[in-house]
Symmetry: D2
Subunit: 287 residues, 4 copies
């Protein structure tokens, strides 16, 4: 018996006439009903076009290979980059953390509430602090210590843990270690970091101390994809909070946490719901 | 010689399968290129569907009657309510004001900057205060006094001024008089008011005094279409600002003005750009 | 040997000349050093004056009775209401909850981080859901069922639990039951509730449904002291979040939770730090 | 006959015990009544102390020299930097502008509403665009062209205009020229600039283009005192607005204007009300 399932089609291609008509006609004539659609063009003339369509389809999982084969023909004349995802398959997520719990707590709590479309498959940390927090939520915990001399081994351990657990997405929930290039290349646009400043202000270490020293009146946080340049990957989400001359560095850290956890949560949620398309060093985020 | 012009198609109908495909195919095969599209469904099953499409078309103004006749056939099986607007024709706007200038100033200033897609055709006031302000901006000013005994005459004057000037939209920029029912019925969903509270809190007179008396920690403003029930029309936009125990009623009024003028500006801007669809007592606002 | 301790002096009296001089001279000549001071007057002429002073004092706990006796003489000519609190004594807090965990979780988590100046002495609920949550944080849990027929017994149970545990402050963390008048009178301005709307909008039940039906563009939450009138006690804190036509009632509830938990947290934090003075139906909140 | 006048006392000194008592006793015994008082200490031990007191005094203007002489004795043992200002004397302000009118318009409009405690004595511009705008508000306009070869003459002209008009404060309302060092030194902490980014992000030219290229999700504005380092003076106020992938550089500029004008207005207002104390490269801003 048929059952209605939900799918998401992402499309990215040079802008030209007739894209929406071609795609919507394809979906309609292949039994899919458009539930929501959003699009963006950097410029109708010579620009780039992006589209995200939520659709319902009877027996999507079963028919997916067929649908993909058929769509390839529609996509080809437009030089589309595209993907079709059945939402019944949840992305598998690994969370990296160190010693600050607020981002990890927030993600676990949102996940328990059903607000994150994911399997949180495991937590990895270079410390043992969060074993209980993870395991009491039913999430396997891996302690992978990282020292100057053991970076290669740690990376190897990370790789095998992620591979064995078929991880799709890695969340750095205030993980205070540099991610090696091999990992970044293996998980292109699938590693999300939270930086504790409104980038590009206060790149690098100790951004709250930097903010204090500069005497700013707002502090912020930035969730971004990790690429080879530290703190320079495509930004997914940012937010800020107002501060006053009364706040010392400890106060900044305390208030900053509230921004960090909500900004990371939003970025992760949108990523998992396939709302984010990376284009060059920027993101299109469909709401 | 052909020239590319921009049009906006608004559609509202019961949700069902195939709407997007039908509309986008219609536009494509009639020489229109979709520049931006947004849609909303209250529920894919038994719900109501809304769509706003910006498109470009060679010689739209000339071909509009033809296009409308053709679209009527596409629209009919879906029981669509719809409109096609050529953006080269700017709506004609009348602003009503009394003695507070901040909303009027903001609208005129935005209009001079080219941020409002409108002809501001005239200012009407029950006082003479703003004659110079209006006229120095090149906007005709009409002084129509309103007293208890002259309401009928005032309404008649309003009607004839609006008709003679072919007004499409009326903005009440802190106009402190009740709008008579005939006017509301003549300009259905075309009269926008700014109320100085976050409705439905503090309906009626003196909302800042009410807010002060209640001891709230936020004040706000609400732009809404005017219907027969005072302060109960469909809300287009709202915003707020934080206040503290230090603010007296005068402070509330002063800070409130900043919210009022920006909220009214946004609502007017979106209305003029055909971003707002009224459905029952609510609005869909496409960004 | 002496040790420096921190104290908080709250003062409230009719405004007149010389209050600040009298109080600051008293503190100085009694060995207290003003660390922070804030004040407010509703009106220098005929108004009411409020002051909060943080001070440091060697051996405050030991000298408190002496200091209080001495200050009574300074206070008397000004008709002051006043209190001196040694911050080394933490208020004892009881949290009431029902079935929604976000506010309870937030308070426990903040408390574990050291961000709430309190002993969370116990959690009371009319359901058994949160036993594990409370107990795993080391907080005793009391299940007091409430049915139509057992209200009197439940109130008696509440009273004896609160008295036996020497509770100072009661937090209603989405506790979905009416608080009986005796409890309100016993804990005057010491019971804090979170209401899931920006009061005075949407008083009463189901505020998110009410907000959806009205078509507002912002939703909010309000933390207030509980008095005999439902949802009409003095407001401590409010905040809002923007919504769009895309949000159904479930979405409103989900986004509302984020506001509820942060608004309640702020109000509780400020209350516990003696930053809130109730005056009539309003609050002065010193930052 | 005596009349009550308002004064503002600003104090800045190393923190130690007894400051508040000494100052409040001085005021009380010299016939001044404290209307509002605010203070801040970077650290009670070895820190720096700041205080702002609003007081009322009969015949303040007449008695000011006497009061200052007397306060010098109170201030000396504490090594205070201090000033007493009679608010009946309004600061004289010069506004510099170039070709963008939003900041200039906002300041003039606020001033006409009585929201700026100042005499706007003149507008200076390197272009002639705003002559009518200034003069129709009754403000003298000076056109001082600036070219590569005439910088020295322009600076000389600026100096003599400012001196002749006894200017206290200079506002750079999007004045697109570098301010020469002599002017900065002559008007220490009395020149306020608006930079169109949330500093320290996007220092230098074309910040909106920089923001677009980096793909940020928020843009902002910063009002700061001008010192010798470009865009690095003490920050008075900052604010931001959210943006999306849909905004091109023109959109960023348009939305940015709304932030710029409100941020500059706030900073100017606070400066004129003597709410801002500069300490090193930071500001204390008393609300």
């Amino acid at each position: 018996m048929n059952q209605t399932e939900k799918g998401i089609l992402l499309v990215s291609c040079p802008d030209t006439e007739g894209i929406v008509a071609a795609v919507s006609t394809f979906l309609f004539s292949n039994g899919a009903n458009i539930v929501h659609s959003d699009q963006h063009s950097t410029d109708p003339v010579q620009g780039h076009f992006f589209m995200r369509i939520e659709f319902s389809h009877p027996n999507l999982l079963e028919k997916l290979p067929e649908l993909e084969a058929a769509f390839a023909e529609t996509a080809s004349p437009f030089s589309m980059q595209w993907s079709i995802t059945a939402t019944s398959k949840k992305p598998r997520v690994a969370i990296f953390a160190t010693k600050e719990d607020h981002c990890l707590q927030e993600l676990i709590w949102r996940w328990q509430l059903g607000e994150l479309h994911a399997e949180i498959a495991l937590v990895i940390s270079n410390h043992n602090h969060f074993r209980e927090l993870a395991e009491s939520a039913g999430i396997p915990f891996y302690h992978v210590p990282v020292t100057k001399d053991t970076k290669a081994e740690a990376t190897a351990a990370h790789f095998s843990i992620l591979e064995e657990n078929r991880i799709d997405t890695v969340i750095l929930a205030r993980y205070m270690q540099i991610i090696p290039e091999q990992l970044i290349q293996r998980y292109q646009n699938e590693i999300i970091n939270i930086h504790h400043s409104f980038l590009p202000a206060f790149i690098g270490g100790n951004p709250y101390q930097q903010a204090f020293d500069r005497g700013v009146k707002i502090i912020g946080a930035t969730a971004h994809y990790v690429n080879e340049q530290l703190d320079e990957g495509p930004i997914i989400e940012q937010d800020i909070t107002r501060i006053t001359h009364r706040y010392n560095v400890t106060d900044l850290k305390r208030h900053g946490k509230d921004i960090e956890r909500i900004v990371l949560y939003r970025a992760v949620k949108w990523h998992l719901e396939k709302r984010v398309i990376v284009h060059g060093n920027k993101t299109i985020v469909f709401q």
